[in-house]
Amino acid sequence: MSRPEPAVARLAVIALLLGIWEVAARAFGNPLFICPPSRVVASFAALFRDADVVEAVYYTSFEILVAFVIAVVIGFALGLAVGLHRFTRGAMYPVILLLYAMPQVTILPLFVVVFGIGAVSKIAFGVSHGVFPMIMTVAAGAQSIEPILLRSARSMGANRMQVLRYVVFPHLVPSFFAGMRLAMTAVLLGVLVAELYVSQAGVGRFTSAFTQTFQPANLFALIGVLAALAITLNELCRRAELRFSRWCAG
């Protein structure tokens, strides 16, 4: 009864961990490698007065958004093709599963060789991560449409476009948003891994610069910003999924 709410206890745990980090870093940490959280917070302001860093964060966000949009569009089209037609499913699904099961990090250098070290290779790598969860989820959603709904729409004289518009798309709304959430997680991973590998104008340039010149405060701050960006984008997709999957429960 006297226990605080779990949310409050959670915040207390986080505060406790930050406190331990602060004390441990001050007492034992080598300032070349680690720094207390108070210094990280202090370096936020200085870091974001640097126009280059701000621009790099924008640049990376741009890569993430472009990759996400491309992955969602291609993934939706392919997922529809695979989910709706038995023939394309039989023909393409095993190929897609095989591609999905490949460890994609191994071909990251190939992406850089083909697309260069600029934004294009990051976007392409992000798309290659995000497109598969989208295909899978949309295909699964399209397969779960009851055949009787399609048949009755057709028997009442709906043409192909009308069936898509009034039966298939409304049915796909929950899986579309679920796929978007999974695609966002995957795109973030793909773009950030590619950024860390080699980067010209994105955040990867600064993460490696801060590591090589032993500036832990700046590195922590930049990683904190990227983590916050990732959490925000993931959370937006999760909220959208919750909101738009509600109609089918009712």
Partner: protein, 252 residues
């Protein structure tokens, strides 16, 4: 029946058309061999790789990193999952915290780990273990806290001690979820280690691929990518087989 044959034909045609496209693009000289090496060259490098077997030290490094990372994550993940699953209050406090941290791409920590642990295997083990920890811990929590209360009450009313309840009721009931978490963790750790080796390292399969790419030896790079993918496939098969055995053991 007939459509199944045609589907197989379409698949075969898809693979064959990619191979043909590859062959003609490189044979006609339209695509520079630097971007896409001709197929025979890759085949040649692949057989050279098998003959020399100079990939062994790198393979050993990567597998060592994977095993260490997996053991760390398995031990820490199941322990943390068990500790959290003890009370409902702890589950409600810590599970959202862990799930939230799991959603952040943990590869972001890699530059920090390079700073802490250096460019050697240490930073790869750390990143692999961090990434594998969350699925293991979360599925352990799910498995242990999802045990039907009725079974626990029944076991206790029949006089089982708390040790017996854990060993004979909770563990068997939670085992499938824990095994699934371990499988996801092993795969995630392997991807993370390959990625980390690609980003910054001295040795390992990821490092091999990068050094070939940087010396513009594309045919060799393709051969090494094939090698890394077959290792990944073998790990996948081994882990799935282990998971199936665990299931059988549980049913027996």
């Amino acid at each position: 029946m007939n459509s199944r044959v045609t589907q197989r034909l379409v698949q075969a045609a898809f693979v064959a058309s990619i191979a043909l496209l590859w062959h003609f693009a490189t044979a006609s000289g339209r695509v520079a061999p630097l971007l896409l090496p001709p197929m025979p060259a890759v085949g040649h490098e692949l057989s050279a790789l098998a003959a020399d077997a100079d990939f062994w030290p790198d393979l050993r490094t990567t597998l060592f990193e994977l095993v260490m990372a997996f053991l760390l994550a398995a031990a820490a993940g199941t322990a943390a999952g068990y500790a959290v699953s003890r009370t409902r209050y702890a589950v409600r406090t810590f599970e959202p915290l862990m799930a939230g941290m799991y959603a952040v791409p943990a590869i972001l920590l890699f530059p920090l780990y390079v700073l802490f642990f250096g460019l050697g295997p240490g930073s790869k083990i750390a990143i692999g273990a961090t990434i594998a920890f969350f699925p293991v811990a979360l599925s352990t929590v799910t498995g242990l806290s999802g045990v039907n209360r009725l079974y626990l009450t029944a076991a206790r009313s029949m006089g089982a001690s708390s040790g017996q309840t854990f060993r004979l009721v909770m563990l068997p009931a939670a085992l499938p979820a824990i095994l699934a978490g371990l499988r996801i963790g092993a795969n995630a750790a392997f991807m993370a280690i390959l990625g980390a080796e690609t980003i910054a390292s001295f040795a390992g399969l990821g490092h091999r691929i990068v050094s070939m790419a940087e010396s513009m030896d594309t045919a060799k790079m393709f051969a090494n990518i094939v090698l890394a993918m077959s290792v990944a496939a073998m790990i996948n098969i081994a882990v799935s087989a282990a998971e199936k055995r665990g299931w059988k053991h549980e049913q027996a």
